[in-house]
Symmetry: C2
Subunit: 352 residues, 2 copies
Amino acid sequence: MQLDQIGELQLLKEIRKRFKSTDKNIVVGIGDDAAVITPQKERILVTTDMMNEGIHFDLSFSAPFHLGFKLVSVNVSDIMAMCGEPAYLFANIAAKKNADENFLWGLFAGISTAINMYRMQLVGGDLSTSEDKIALSATAIGVADKVVTRCDASAGDRIYVTHTMGDSACGLEILKRLAPESKNVVQDIRLDDISPPQNINHLLLQTTGSLVQIDWNIAYSLIKRHLMPIARDSGEFLPYAASMIDISDGLFIDLCRICDESNVGARIYLDKIPLSKEIRYASEIMGLDFRHLATTGGEDYELLFTIPASVSSSHIINATCIGEIVEDERIVVDEAGRESALKAEGYQHFGP
Amino acid sequence: MQLDQIGELQLLKEIRKRFKSTDKNIVVGIGDDAAVITPQKERILVTTDMMNEGIHFDLSFSAPFHLGFKLVSVNVSDIMAMCGEPAYLFANIAAKKNADENFLWGLFAGISTAINMYRMQLVGGDLSTSEDKIALSATAIGVADKVVTRCDASAGDRIYVTHTMGDSACGLEILKRLAPESKNVVQDIRLDDISPPQNINHLLLQTTGSLVQIDWNIAYSLIKRHLMPIARDSGEFLPYAASMIDISDGLFIDLCRICDESNVGARIYLDKIPLSKEIRYASEIMGLDFRHLATTGGEDYELLFTIPASVSSSHIINATCIGEIVEDERIVVDEAGRESALKAEGYQHFGP
């Protein structure tokens, strides 16, 4: 049924039913003018991020489930990057008057899966019509006793990243090249797919005039990183980290943000940047430079943090050291030991 | 200059400079992954509202200043309606890549004027491109020891509203009928205009084929209520109110929300609903029914609340009693004493 055949009051009633909470710290949940919460720690953390159709997502390959899931993750990633615990979510959704209700319920299914994973509660938001494109935003609230900012990196700190770099950007490159018959397959992928949907074993990509095949497992692994990124838990690094940021716009641009805020420089070793086998394989098929994707590609939502030299590296398990903070120069060292300038390259809204 | 000639990094730098705060409860303000706040009361209140171009506003008569001011007020109004104290604001702004920077700075001037008026701090948000239309949203955070919800109205409570009803909807009707030469005049109006800009003494309205004049002072008073609504301070009602809501979608629909949540009925006396002299005058010129505007018109952002029968009416100064809460019937009584059904009429997104 179309949303305008259901009406706002009925939609809100259904949303309230689906997201009913028994959390005793929620004094007033969905359905009043504002949510009322009793925070259980001294400090609250608040972040908000938008996702706009045509800019942040393309409905030809992103399913509503993916959008809902990602909307939560991108906000949670900011809470994690301060070493907070995500707790409450508010979602703003604007869609065309005559949008199908399946769009909305798909979106909420994605939101629901994500907030359960991050142990959060949905406690409010706003539902509105838009004239044309879909506009989404969310606000995440977290709690913390101690936080880690971008400002406290010092010369001598080691620089770490979680997981691998550039997979999300590489996944997006695959998605952009998908042949029409493969786009529908992608819309159906979820977080825990083991075997490919419809028993296919490859996807078809359109590259400069010709069609090429990419192995399903490789493609799935990269596409999933783009459509349904998972915010990394920073809890294990909290006792040691001096500074932290999440990589949303690209490794280099986000590292430069730490340098700017902390008034320091950095020295990065290209061959230490962790890369998945999938990015190497898929980049070759598409004729792309995987180093470029890994250093400037956005939306990885991995953590980038620095650890004081005095902390033993044996404490840092699930992250890779890629360089060190220095006084003021910003240098990239390649495999052959050649040095070049570290530039703030990556995604910028209103970029030139 | 166009926003894409300035770039996101430079824009954020300028925004940080303009909204630098010395509030000691802000541990981390604009510029990190999330804001970090130490709330000074036991409970926090959170609300979020969108404003989308073509749905919530029309750039042919709304100036960026108006949008920024209203974005804050509509969110603050929700905090006030819970009897909270507004404290922190987060603003999300999406505009076209090539939008002029004056749009952004006008918007921030409106935000700045409003947050100063409400004694709030801007501590975060998100700046993004949109493919076409402007998409705005904000999240307001308030604090409170005690809150007033929609759920605690009881039979016998008196029903009150602040100020006058329908002025914003009437102002919108004027704006929709403005002749082109009067639209520019309206873009320049601000909160404290005493004499009309450009020394004009009337605006021109296009009504069914002919042009009519409307007195500047009348028009200004109503238009201002629509373009720059002011959230009412609920502080004086906090000691007495049993239930409260802000009137954003219309008096009747919002009153029905209190009835639904509190499981009660209401009896409203039409002749007690407070009306401005301006709405009577302007409605007549436009051939509109002022009663209809006052009972179903949206965006007044006045407070609607109920006071237990045991509280002396002498305590309630700046509000008008318009009826009472009853067991379960929902009745409107007109000037002649005739009764009709109170219906949830007013603005609904995804309405039929």
